[in-house]
């Protein structure tokens, strides 16, 4: 029973981490890169504005950071909850 409770908590923590990551994922691409571009167009970057930078460079860099952050965080979580591979 205690094992079940632990794995339920592990899953809950995982889903929460996924949700947070996906909010950032959507914010930098669909948000800053497309829909919110007019709102941040006041911030100039090399001859154009920040939204253009997010659409062509920034979003990709954030995607990379997100995947590595998630992998690092989850592998730590695996050990904390004792569900890592042995």
């Amino acid at each position: 029973m205690s094992l079940d409770k632990t794995s339920a908590q592990y899953w809950k923590a995982n889903v929460r981490l996924i949700l947070i990551s996906l909010v950032i994922w959507a914010l930098v691409s669909f948000g800053f890169g497309i829909v919110l571009r007019p709102l941040i167009s006041g911030i100039k970057v090399g001859g154009t504005d920040l939204g253009f930078w997010f659409a062509q460079q920034g979003s990709i860099l954030v995607f990379l950071a997100l995947i590595f952050f998630y992998a690092w965080r989850m592998n730590k979580l695996d050990r904390e909850y004792g569900v890592d591979e042995v």
């Binding site: 001859g47 154009t48 979003s59 990709i60």
Partner: protein
Amino acid sequence: MDQFTINLLFVGASFALYIGIAIWARAGTTSEFYAAGRGVHPVTNGMATAADWMSAASFISMAGLIAFTGYDNSTYLMGWTGGYVLLALLLAPYLRKFGKFTVSEFIGDRFYSSSARLVAVICLIVASVTYVIGQMTGVGVAFGRFLEVDNTTGLLIGAVVVFAYAVFGGMKGVTYTQVAQYVVLIMAYTIPAVFISLQLTGNPIPGLGLFGTDQESGEPLLARLDQIVRELGFNEYTAHNGDTFNMVLFTLSLMIGTAGLPHVIMRFFTVPRVSDARWSAGWALVFIALLYLTAPAVGAMARLNITEQFWPNGTEGQAVSVETIESDPAYDWMATWQQTGLLGWEDKNGDGRIQYYNENSTAMQERAAAEGWEGNELTNFNNDILVLANPEIANLPGWVIGLVAAGGLAAALSTAAGLLLAISSAVSHDLIKGQFAPQISEKGELLSARIAMAVSIAVATYLGLNPPGFAAQTVALAFGLAAATIFPALMMGIFSTRINNTGAVAGMLAGLVVTLVYIFLHKGWFFIPDTNTFTDADPLLGTIKSTSFGAVGAAINFAVAFFVASITKDTPQEIKDLVEGVRVPRGAGAAVEGH
């Protein structure tokens, strides 16, 4: 040494390398054939995934699309990289934990239904075959161009090479071959970009140079580009001109499609552990990002170079003369590419100069009337030649041009091989062994996998010779299908215990049928010309183009599956246990041989 010999040397040497590796790493067992015995390091696997993923579309086509449209085509950059976030967070670790060889095996077991597995196999085969047709078309064009043979001969040579290493190598051969191909293609893409970025901005990193200063004018590069294209009547490069809603949907479709393509997902079965599957997606994106961060710089800088070549005295001055184009070595690339039929110009008003401008712009029509121009004289510039012609336009050394030739072929061939492997495992493992002849021996299964490969390459070559439409159309169909069928089924299978067999089958079928019909309505039934009722310029549903419909198809899949599951019988307890098991890494041992 002339350019043709240099190209031949580079292409020949790179091919000898790939085939050598394929022979060296020949697969002996089924496990090795499909998943390389699960002995592939995450970094190696990431590199192979990157080569697998970056096809002729990424290498040859994408920068050209960005160059001539500008900001609005950032969709490709975000869409084809953002899908890896979905893969890493939502699919890869769980599918690796599940521990079977193929995507359809997971769907069949999770939804405890051989019809679910059959539907998944059909979706996989349709998506992969349509994708591989586009690749074979690219292979034919690239081979034809660089070996200076016609398209048909080029395609046949390419088909033999793909067949050789995909059929005899299997996943293990393909994995190491694809590592070599990745190295060739990324050098071919970045080296000319670094040269050009240095020439224009003095910054060796193209992604930084893009936001740097144009050394000639002293202005920011993008501001300069915006200015000269505006002066010629074109849309500003950095401006948003298209429809925002369609842009969002198209990006989303590419992302979901990426996470639903079987040949990419299969890659994550080949790493040793669940934690490696998480890292592996990250490494794949690192290697992909090297090209994707460079591509927008390639596009913008090439657009600037080309425009300035046609207006050497500035956009207000005189256009380039026909005499200069014919005699100045800096313009040699125009004659070379004119032979391919993908580049054309014509001195319409007979003034001995070639005026390149937007003839549909009112301001330019006024100037044309004043100066006696009779229309845009750069009559044809196919977007797909941009990356391959780029080093010639920038007057880079001959060896760089040869390297780009080898890189373009590597991109097209590696993806074709990966797709063939996905098709062959779907046919032999899921269809023959899983459905029709469960008693088949390992040897028989391996043989049927190779026959399936040979048959699909024959079909793809035939359709590549007589394509059902432009390569981009077929690729769009493949993405839309993967997005509308496979991705939702996998995601619901992992994140919901409530979705049962009937729900999953209904969802996949609904996504498949609605997406197919929407595409056929706009592109013609089975791609037969003139059978379409609508066009992408004036789509059926508001501003949603057929290429953007995959995301809508996915939403329909989710909705139908949840609705049907809620009115039918709950999933059995052992399936709930299976899902619980997939969610934790512990116990992910060796692969379990299915059925």
